[in-house]
């Protein structure tokens, strides 16, 4: 019989013996992907959140997945298709839930104490539901308002204390704010859904609607008020208009760059853009003011993007993921996100916090949120419609303004088909 020499078996025994405790102590690793982790103003907060969570939960590690905003959705879809999506994600909730990429959270949410559950309004929770099931916990949002560069307003002979309230007044201001190499605003037409967000605010401010109530029909051209708003807004980009050139390549990033460089005097944006502008140009700190979006109808709704944390369907550790979501949703982090990173809080119990009350612009945005509609719009095809179809129509209309009516009629027809083709 062959005998194995102890010198051969010893290293194997030692290796197994030494590695066993290592395997036993392997922590759960949760990947976390949201579009805003790469934004510098948020970095100190999420790093602190992770550090404190890991200290409180030694068996769990959180690994942030840093993805550029424009690649966020596509990377998530690719990973979800491969059943390898990060455990905790913030994505277009309705589309993701419809496609089976997310886990319903009702089981976890309903098991929480009432004090926790009541921190979100019924409407806010409704924005995170699909077919009656909760797929995300609303964490932060962005209410869209009109943000002005105070110095440029004063330089144009305008009074910051009397900002425009109607669209006509806004246009009159726009003419005064436009000069040889600077403009009142930027029309957004770049290939992201920010283009669609801003377009919707113009439509709603004019009393129009882009879709019917149950989102089975598009009314960009069918609703005369919508079409009038679209033509007015896109018309700003015409030659000798009041908008910066090259709208078809202008997105969130380009708009904030232009604003930070003093090339445009006003931008329609969420409060988080203020932190971005100050990051690009610290001299603008405290030199901006925000107002509700000028509108031709009373109490016109603005747009509030809702970012909800969800658990992907392929997550192996949903209990641990919920633990982190709950931790991240805490009031403490909501306040810090609002004050430092300018992400709007979505909990009921945060608006009265002294730290938030101390920031006049933040308070103004919180007030604007009272008349906000949540975004993304609740339709499974919204990710495609918001980032592709509407943007393509906007680009075409910007390039051939004389065809605007026809382009948006074609868009209505295309979307009618898509909205009902599930």
């Amino acid at each position: 019989m062959n005998r194995i020499h102890p010198s051969r078996t010893l290293p194997i025994v030692l290796a197994i013996g030494l590695s066993a405790p290592v395997f036993a102590q392997q922590p759960i690793v949760l990947q976390w992907q949201t579009a805003n982790l790469t934004e510098s103003q948020y970095e100190p907060i999420w790093k602190k959140t992770i550090a404190e969570f890991e200290a409180a939960n030694p068996g769990i590690k959180v690994e942030p997945v840093l993805v550029a905003r424009k690649d966020h959705w596509t990377k998530f879809v690719a990973a979800a298709q491969a059943r390898k999506a990060p455990c905790i994600v913030t994505v277009d909730l309705t589309t993701a839930a419809y496609n089976g990429y997310l886990l319903p959270l009702d089981r976890y949410f309903n098991a929480e104490p009432a004090a926790f559950r009541n921190a979100w309004s019924r409407d806010m929770l409704a924005s995170a539901k699909w077919k009656g099931e909760l797929y995300g916990l609303p964490i932060w949002g962005g209410t869209y308002g009109e943000i002005y560069n105070r110095d440029l307003v004063v330089k144009a002979g305008l009074d910051p204390a009397k900002p425009p309230k109607t669209i006509d007044e806004y246009v009159a201001w726009g003419r005064k704010l436009t000069g040889d190499d600077h403009w009142a605003l930027a029309v957004l037409g770049g290939k992201t859904d920010t283009t669609t967000r801003v377009l919707l605010t113009w439509i709603w401010a004019n009393g129009g609607e882009a879709f019917n109530k149950d989102m089975t029909e598009a009314t960009f051209a069918k609703n005369p008020k919508s079409l009038a708003a679209i033509k007015l807004y896109l018309g700003f980009a015409a030659k000798n208009g009041i908008a910066a050139p090259s709208p078809t390549t202008t997105n969130y990033l380009e708009q904030t760059n232009l604003f930070a460089q003093g090339k445009i005097a006003t931008m329609r944006n969420a409060y988080w853009s203020v932190a971005k502008v100050v990051g690009d140009n610290p001299a603008l700190k405290g030199r901006m003011f925000a107002t509700p979006i000028p509108a031709n109808v009373p109490n016109a709704p603005t747009l509030a993007s809702v970012a909800a944390s969800s658990i992907s369907a392929s997550c192996q550790y949903p209990d641990a993921a919920w633990k982190f979501i709950k931790f991240d949703a805490d009031k403490k982090w909501a306040v810090q996100r609002a004050v430092v990173a300018n992400w709007m809080p979505l909990r009921n119990d945060v608006a009265d916090d002294p730290a938030i009350q101390a920031d006049p612009m933040l308070t103004e945005f919180v007030k604007m949120g009272a008349h906000a509609r949540s975004y993304p719009l609740p339709h499974p095809a919204w990710a495609d419609i918001g980032a592709n179809d509407v943007v393509d129509a906007v680009q075409k209309a910007l390039l051939t303004p004389e065809r605007t009516d026809a382009i948006f009629r074609e868009l209505d027809a295309k979307l009618d088909k898509k909205l009902n083709d599930l």
């Binding site: 089976g100 290939k191 050139p245 078809t248 460089q261 680009q395 075409k396």
Partner: protein
Amino acid sequence: MATTRPPRARAFARRRLYGYAFVAPVFLFLCAIIVFPLGHAFWTSLQRVRGLRSTFVGFDNYARVLADDAFWHSLSISFAFTGVAVALHMVLGLALALLLDELRSARAALRIAFLTPWMVAPAVGATIWLWLLEPQFGVVNYLLRAAGMIDAPLAWLGEPGPAFASVVAVDVWRGVPFVMLLMLAGLQTVPPEQYEAAAMDGASAWQRFRFVTLPNLRYLLIVATTLDVINTIRHYDIIGVMTAGGPAQATEVLPVLLYNTAFRGNRFGEAAAIGVLLLLIVLALSTFYMRVTRVGSEDGAR
């Protein structure tokens, strides 16, 4: 009655088995990275995919794609992009190769310098160009304005014509060095006696190029063009980064349409059908390439 094979036949069979055994890992590897993904893509193209759910729909996705104007528009953009880019690659690549071939000093340094764009990853190069062409803060507009060539910033990527020209220009910037390298290698195989004979006959520089250089490079030019067409028609990176197919689909070549359909539109079945159609185009070009190279090698053998 059992028959026994002669020892030579057995040895031959064993050797053949060894051969299969040695080839098997590579065969399995190729199956894993080529055959399986291709088969899966074709299978996906026969499904209506909605996220993680899919339903078999036969060739419905192909019918949808072929009935969609966006596909035909994209196909025409692909052909235009490929045609213009490849023509420029060839003309400029050959011109640079001729220039380098004539040089007696600094040839190595210039060759490395001209090759630099080809060494840069396409996505990185495209991102750099994206900022160079930025209308308000980009260097290109700044230089053109400083030189008095334009009075207002040009939206290079914001209008269909300039956007198409810009992505072609960046692709040419990146694609020319490879062609230049091929042509330079070809030029160095042209027998110098042919040039000497032409010179003795009083041929001008143009005539030497037309009747000596070009005929000698004919086979290489056809091979390089075919390879370049195959590469360019399935090219994604530069356009994906710079315009994502915009503005208004003016630069939406087939690979970009495929990407947008799959990842933005969430229609994986249709995207897979576009992929299969694109593959058929590339296969047709590859067949042409193989035929040309076979004829070329037979010519060489003769």
